[in-house]
Symmetry: C2
Subunit: 277 residues, 2 copies
């Protein structure tokens, strides 16, 4: 009995073609025996090879953790994982793979919020890297999955200090590497305008929060001695003195019909460039 005849007798995995000459396997959430999976996977790989397929994707829900070892033994590698699933991929051709890379950046925000007395909203953290340093810093936080940078900045300020604020601009952003496991980090310094002024610290990770004269904030040794914090303080000062242009968000439809947020120097770009139309 030839290879092809044997292959015909086992159930192949259900899959759909992707835009890049590969396939995505559909796994159901119900339990599957790892031996059955091994047999179907081998037969399916043999068929995909004959069809000249390139990348093969299998998304295994965490309940199907028993199938992970089988897939790896058949040549799959990890692509990415979320709490509830693991994405595996197998590049069939002999050539170098052109598979898209995994998400590589964690995104964070720091919020510069100044009131009309030139006082800046600062917090003292009770955990992590700044624990027990006595440093007063801007409210900061991680931008959630699917969350806009401007939404995250407003949320973090509210969570850490109870202050309602309105997003104004991204003043600058910092790129750093190897900061979170092996991942890189993009940190956006955002300017917000306060809409309320009574501080009500809620976040359990924040020890204290207050309005502090900007000069006092900037004069802290920790801020003065670290080039990056020093730069950021200067940018904030330049902004409050109106000599600085950041990026403000404007929403725009994309080619796929969704709306995305474009951050640029002037959201009124229609006016800015109308002379050229």
């Amino acid at each position: 009995m030839g290879e092809n005849e044997r292959v015909q007798q086992v159930e192949l995995l259900s899959s759909v073609n992707d835009l890049y000459g590969g396939v995505r396997v559909n796994m159901e959430h119900h339990p599957m025996d790892s031996k059955d999976f091994a047999t179907s996977l081998k037969a399916s790989i043999s068929q995909w090879k004959q069809q000249g397929k390139r990348g093969v994707w299998i998304k295994l829900p965490i309940e199907q953790v028993n199938l992970v070892e089988v897939a790896v033994k058949e040549g799959f590698r990890y692509h990415h994982a979320e709490p509830d699933y693991l994405m595996l991929v197998y590049w069939i051709p002999e050539t170098t793979d052109t598979l898209p890379v995994n998400a590589s950046r964690r995104v964070g925000i720091g919020a510069f919020v100044m009131n009309s007395q030139r006082e800046v909203l600062v917090v003292m953290e009770n955990g992590g890297r700044f624990k027990e340093t006595g440093v007063w810093k801007f409210p900061t936080g991680v931008v959630n999955e699917g969350e806009d940078i401007c939404t995250a900045a407003v949320r973090e300020v509210k969570e850490e200090t109870g202050i309602d604020a309105e997003f104004v601009e991204v003043l600058a952003f910092r790129e750093s590497h190897k900061s979170f496991f092996s991942k890189s980090d993009l940190f956006f310094v955002c300017m917000l305008k306060p809409r309320s002024f009574d501080i009500q610290k809620q976040d359990q990770e924040v020890e204290a929060a207050q309005w502090m004269p900007f000069e006092e904030y900037a004069a802290q040794p920790f801020i003065r001695e670290h080039e990056l914090f020093n730069y950021v303080a200067k940018i904030c000062l330049a902004k409050s003195d109106k000599g600085y242009a950041g990026f403000s968000p404007v929403s725009a439809a994309t080619s796929s019909g969704k709306t995305s947020c474009l951050y640029c120097n002037n959201p009124d770009i229609h006016l800015l460039t109308s002379g050229h139309q």
Copy 2:
């Protein structure tokens, strides 16, 4: 025999404390039997509970794929994965976990490169979303793990067109969600100055490359009809007419002693704010 006495008889997993009240388990790269691992893991969890530990991290190299199922059965969930390892985590306390989220963004760049004849460098792609659309677009690409945005922009222009270029500014960036699996996307529109002019297309994903009058690029129906592309074209035009300020990179030391890249309106921020010192 009490729980504690039994626990003492099995080998505990080696681990180190982290900064957040949790532990990181050290797994070696050599093979380990899944039954032995199960026994050690159960005993270790029992000890971590007694010690009041919070998050427990286990990084399993792909060679130890046989241990993944054991860890999940003991209560671990996936945190993130890279081609060669899977990171699992277990939150011990009854409270809501405060574990850091996974990297959530893929980062891409688009390169606006204009020569002195007001011609812009454009490519036609032969795969993916723009395949067979006939659209001439800016060179684009994904920023690699650990790579700076400005480095990626220079690299992509070279790879796709053979042109040497110098990074000038980030003109704008776009935030979109659910664009790559469930991940979000940050796309930076970068301005580069060409240093060479002979196009030598190398990238196999690029069908053709050319210098095209800017007005011709912007007049393509695809660009005109899509709000986002239209905005970006206007920003580029505003920049080439010198009425627009983007963010340029400046390198600065961070508090942990590493150097990171800060993108802001004016890299000469020292001069800009020197009056306030």
